[in-house]
Symmetry: C2
Subunit: 481 residues, 2 copies
Amino acid sequence: MAGTEAKAKTSDSKPAKQQQGGGKKKEVKKETRLGLTHRKAENFGEWYSDVVVNAEMIEYYDISGCYILRPWSMAIWEIMQAFFDPEIKKMKIKNCYFPLFVSPGVLQKEKDHVKGFAPEVAWVTKSGESELEIPIAIRPTSETVMYPYYSKWIRGHRDLPLKLNQWCNIVRWEFSNPTPFIRSREFLWQEGHTAFATKEEADAEVLEILELYRRIYEEYLAVPVIKGKKSELEKFAGGLYTTSVEAFIPNTGRGVQGATSHFLGQNFAKMFEINFENEKGEKAMVWQNSWAYSTRTIGVMVMVHGDDKGLVLPPKVASLQVIVIPVPFKDANTQGIYDACAATVNTLCEAGIRAESDTRDNYSPGWKYSHWEMKGVPLRIEIGPKDLANKQVRAVRRDNGAKIDIANADLVEELKKLLDNIQQNLFDVAKQKRDECIQIIHTWDEFIQALNERKMIFAPWCDEKSQLLFLLVWLSDCGQL
Amino acid sequence: MAGTEAKAKTSDSKPAKQQQGGGKKKEVKKETRLGLTHRKAENFGEWYSDVVVNAEMIEYYDISGCYILRPWSMAIWEIMQAFFDPEIKKMKIKNCYFPLFVSPGVLQKEKDHVKGFAPEVAWVTKSGESELEIPIAIRPTSETVMYPYYSKWIRGHRDLPLKLNQWCNIVRWEFSNPTPFIRSREFLWQEGHTAFATKEEADAEVLEILELYRRIYEEYLAVPVIKGKKSELEKFAGGLYTTSVEAFIPNTGRGVQGATSHFLGQNFAKMFEINFENEKGEKAMVWQNSWAYSTRTIGVMVMVHGDDKGLVLPPKVASLQVIVIPVPFKDANTQGIYDACAATVNTLCEAGIRAESDTRDNYSPGWKYSHWEMKGVPLRIEIGPKDLANKQVRAVRRDNGAKIDIANADLVEELKKLLDNIQQNLFDVAKQKRDECIQIIHTWDEFIQALNERKMIFAPWCDEKSQLLFLLVWLSDCGQL
């Protein structure tokens, strides 16, 4: 569905690593040393790859361009789903599941659409030892899978609107720069496909969904995004217009398409004969939308917040929000410290804060600090002899390293405040960094210079006048005009 | 994972229908008449196919053996997931996502395993116009996809247990009797894959998971199942033993494998070198399990509870538990009736009961009764002029047709009781029907006769002595001995 997802290039892919597969022979970094080999500011591509692997979000797979989503990243996907799925259900959108496979005749029915996807379609031609009679495509998106049935199910105006969504995997056999989360040959997404009696209803839904996508990025991932409309060249193949939320990676100076909400108009309706009898008894054609966000969201979050210590997780999407670490000291009350850690975790979990303690006895507290920093846990709590004596804990923020002593009595209340504060601070810092990169230009020379300086460029744009208008409104909204 | 899912044959498949695809040309039964063409007792296969299509659970797809899961069935899948997923999370099992694709070398590593699945593996050989260098398999189950990485991640006893699960789609290109839900070329499932330091832990988990599968069938789908151990011939290819919950379809006299929990022993661990250093510093090998339930669950439920009016949904898995239908009468207070319907739906939804009203003005109440009976909604509420006058509603049970007048004042309390009662009654009736089919036999002649009479046979069994013991224990438990 995201027909033009061309923007998110990290500088390097990792073909060497991708050939490794499983196997025991390789060095295991975490046991020999912690920390990243590359710096975010110096070698962004290698840094990104190191972070997603060392934070245990991703494992490189033995088929190039495919990645394993480990529990640490899968949990983020599930938390976003737990927000988005009920929201679309409130909008009376229902979940369904259409097949992974598409027959070639149906796939090729809409010409612009198939042209956009054909080069990256994977084909099944064999089962067991037998050749299939006709090759079968794996869905690169599901418009052509679904719409023949929309044609069947929609007959009268009472069958409208038809609003379906599915959570599924998608395959696009791309060959350029595979990058975990951002550009992979298989990925997870939701795809919504809706049909309406009127253009107005469809137009309204496009923006309603876009707003949910903004909320995923800004409220959950703490990533500022800009809503906008794609150019004719970048819009969804076969649609009428595409809206998207766009993020920006200051380190690369590149935009990343965050999620897309497409107005398909009546183009597919015409090809797939999705007609209905309207209230006047006349034959009419439906207006359609499709919209999707994918596991790419997670990659954007890593790129925006991560630092030279590793991943930084916004509390709202962190499966572990607080890691509690005992800091025993030679002749101190070790058992007391361990008990205090267990009690702290208990108190926090009962208050709905996702907390665990790391009581492993074969690692030093210092090693554990680095380990959980690498994994991006928003808050670390240290409990040592002094804390025990003072009936307090020490909290350390992942986002800015600040250390705060908190009395046990105020623990839950203070930690809730801190987590909210971290969530907000991550967003504010990211927004400030992005806004600093914005440059308004008027000439081609300025444009080239700004591009070289990795700026986010606001420029006059003649693709459509509304585009320019949109920019002006946005600039005015955010105080730039 | 469910290596031997051979038992659930409906008498007929529907090759003709499967060629239809989308398109407008076909008759639309629901508008011309309601009701099923075939009777459950007379032509079970055709009846089943009619029910899943007319209840709007399934749409036949233009690729044979693939089916569209419409919202009406997808909601059941989601409700089961909302039970099972938190249960396994309590067991510290974490969700992840491994790729859809397997390279041939890895797939073929475990010989018994690959022999079990090879004939039904779908192969991708092309992307766009290009041939792939080597063909790539689509997962028929994920043991060989995952275990090379288990080998990489597991190094010491502290890395154990490793307990992962994924919700995903699976492809098995079977050619015999495709049947919606029961036997399809693509289906949805969860697959759990766990590794332990000791055999005891693994053995215990096999049964713990099996108990969750029993609960899905008995507590949610109201389908009685028997826990047991598969014979050597039927066990999972490559595993040591397979346990399953088995349902029984009285109309066909056939068992259906409901879900499986496999003890893999150390067989895969050996092939994939999943070793660890134990607490004594010695090299040891892990013990593994894998377990799965699939969308087949939904098909079993349809087969067990459905009747000649269509689907019958147990309240716990019904996305719509109560349908409220206005029954206006010529000069009566029509607006008052519609308002009462809306108020009733409101009251029920606020009380956590899933209710809607059918206020369409182009269908008669009688048509609506049949429509919602076809779709299996557990309770129908009718509101007519007399009900309005008496401050009551009339409730009609889908399971037994009983009609009950309920005072508005007692509505929520009474409906909650009724829904519980329907859930229990569906289970009790199904269990009684099944138990009536159980026949204990001792000789081959008795065996053949019982089989012809579509009985569920308990017989001496020499595959393993424990099998016999299991049967005896079970028979004693249920009062048969």
